[in-house]
């Protein structure tokens, strides 16, 4: 397995008149060929920002202020704007939460797919059309020839998301960043999209970062899991390790908060309080004020340390080898 993407110590900040807000701090992760990495966190944890920073889609007052984003060993943060434009969409594709916002409402699907193709290669309209039909067919859209003539509003939410996936796959990218693409969809449609993305990535060896707030969704789709809290990765590892033996107290709390089979009628183990605002982070570990295991040591920021071959955790008091 080779690393398609290697993110090292990524820092992203927002500059405001009242001071600089460090929204991402020291985010490091790798994604290998054909691997699906689930990036989990609550609102404001920085999970979407990580995806945007990798693709350099942060606009002022936000700025990537440090670290490296290596795509096959090449640092995309040092690329010029034109090189970056060539890379976006062709080697790194994104799928967003709301396909109504990503598809242009006044252009036919055909036009949008042609634009996406011609942005990166010189291609005739006839050839583009057959590529588009093949791509729509691949994502399971019935009667793709007819659908090319449609406008986005004529399609259902699930179909629109399939079109967005088809566009993302047009150039056979090395990496796809999917930012909550099923959150707005119904359960049965979510199942269809999850199965589709999983099959396509497996067949083509595309690396995928799946950003979500829903632990159960990544349990079904991901090989590895990274948990974010207040702008930092607090735990990263294989999906079974993280979900069965979470080492960080926040991961444990998150898993216990999910209503699941066997919790019927019982009280859920809630995490007290809420995530601190990024403008008002506590000193040291950001989770300490909510953490049952916090001690005086937690007033310093723990480093992310490996606890096994595959797992790393950012905690002074990790839960190791304890039964849940």
């Amino acid at each position: 397995m080779t690393a398609v993407l290697d993110v090292r110590d990524l820092d992203t900040s927002f500059v405001s008149p009242s001071g600089t807000i460090a929204a991402l701090q020291g985010v490091s992760l790798t994604v290998n060929t054909g691997e699906i990495l689930g990036l989990v966190g609550e609102s404001g944890s920085g999970k979407s920002l990580t995806g945007f920073s990798i693709n350099r889609l942060i606009s002022p007052p936000g700025k990537v202020v440090g670290g490296q984003v290596l795509l096959h060993g090449q640092d995309v943060l040092t690329l010029g704007e034109e090189d970056m434009r060539q890379l976006r969409g062709r080697r790194i594709a994104m799928i967003f939460q709301d396909p109504m916002m990503t598809l242009n409402p006044v252009l036919r699907i055909e036009t949008q797919m042609y634009d996406a193709l011609s942005a990166h290669e010189s291609i005739t309209k006839t050839k583009a059309r057959s590529r588009a039909i093949a791509a729509l067919d691949e994502v399971g859209i019935p009667a793709p020839e007819d659908r090319l003539r449609s406008y986005p509003h004529q399609l259902s939410g699930g179909m629109r998301q399939r079109v967005a996936i088809a566009i993302a796959l047009l150039h056979r990218p090395d990496l796809i960043i999917a930012d909550e693409p099923t959150t707005a969809l119904d359960v049965t449609i979510q199942g269809q999209i999850l199965a589709l993305v999983q099959r396509l990535c497996r067949d083509r060896g595309t690396a995928l970062i799946w950003i979500t707030h829903d632990l159960a969704v990544v349990a079904g789709i991901a090989d590895r899991l990274a948990v974010m809290y207040a702008g930092r990765i607090v735990e990263i590892g294989g999906v079974d390790d993280v979900l069965d033996n979470p080492a960080h107290p926040y991961t444990r709390g998150l898993i216990d908060s999910v209503p699941a089979r066997g919790t019927r009628g019982k009280r859920l183990n809630q995490i007290p309080g809420r995530m601190p605002a990024l403008t008002d982070l506590p000193k040291g570990c950001a989770y300490a004020p909510r953490c049952p295991r916090a001690t005086a040591a937690c007033e310093a920021m723990p480093a992310i340390e490996p606890i096994s071959d595959t797992c790393a955790v950012r905690c002074f008091h990790p839960l190791t080898g304890e039964a849940s």
Binding site: I36, T188, G191, L215, G220, I221, R274
Partner: protein, 339 residues
Amino acid sequence: MTDNVILSAQNVSKQFGGRGDLVARGLARLGLARPRPVVRAVEDVSFDLYKGEVLGVVGESGCGKSTLGRMVAGLLDPSEGQINGRAPDANTGPLPMQMIFQDPFSSLNPRKRVSDLIGEAPRVHRIVSPSEVNAYVADLMDRCGIDASYRDRFSHQFSGGQRQRIGIARALAVKPEILVCDEAVSALDVSIQAQIINLFMDLRDEFGLTYLFISHDLGVVEHIADRILVMYLGRIVESGPAEQIFNDPQHPYTRALIDGVPRLDRRRTVYEPIKGDIPSPIDPPKGCHFHPRCPLAEARCRTERPVLRDIAPGRQAACHLIETTAIEGEPKWPATKTG
């Protein structure tokens, strides 16, 4: 059992659209405009709500669950059928039903202080005297987990979870018996969602509340509900005790819905339970509404509407094929595995 029925819905239907105003009707008659389409949002729904229970209503977008909730809460009038519950006494005294909405951002008036948001209704309905309103509001805030010293703040000064608590306190202020929760935890983060679910359960014990709990999230409904109604395109397709519905679903749609929910214990495997999209409620399929997506559909399903009938004590389902379909073990839907 009938003593315990706190609210009963009989053959309730709700249609939207259809007959427009005078001008629209005139134009339609002259052939200058098409008649407005009729959406049968809820069709012939009957159920009883028992005192103290949590009745979960599940289904996908467009299945009519929110319309049903709004009718129960009295925000919409049924087109046909009736909902029998206790009517409020004229203008004073407690109100029997209250609703909690999904979006804690748009359901609170941004120009009112928390003390007014919570305190106005009980004052108007003379549940508390003006001199006691302050103490009453403080007590409610305390019970719902909001610091009573925040009483003079506006709703935008609170986080989503706290706003939802304010919405709950506001609903409880008029001493309701029934709370209709329409996707009340769906907009919240997982750790906050757990806090609000726990609050609902605590309040239920404390005030003896009855809930109509509407959600698309089956995990949440399974956790909190005693009984469940499963809806599809305006009709109830299955109902029964929560445990039985989840352990032994009978209707193919219920089965697909439950199997389609991602679970923490199901790793690197995704089930694709049913193909296709939900049909438009403007033009629902004939016969059984579910037949175009149903893997088991037969000729009969395409023409004849299955009636909701008893299949076991306390359980009902609307499917022609229930006797012939046995279910056990792992889902039979196609699964995709990673790696």
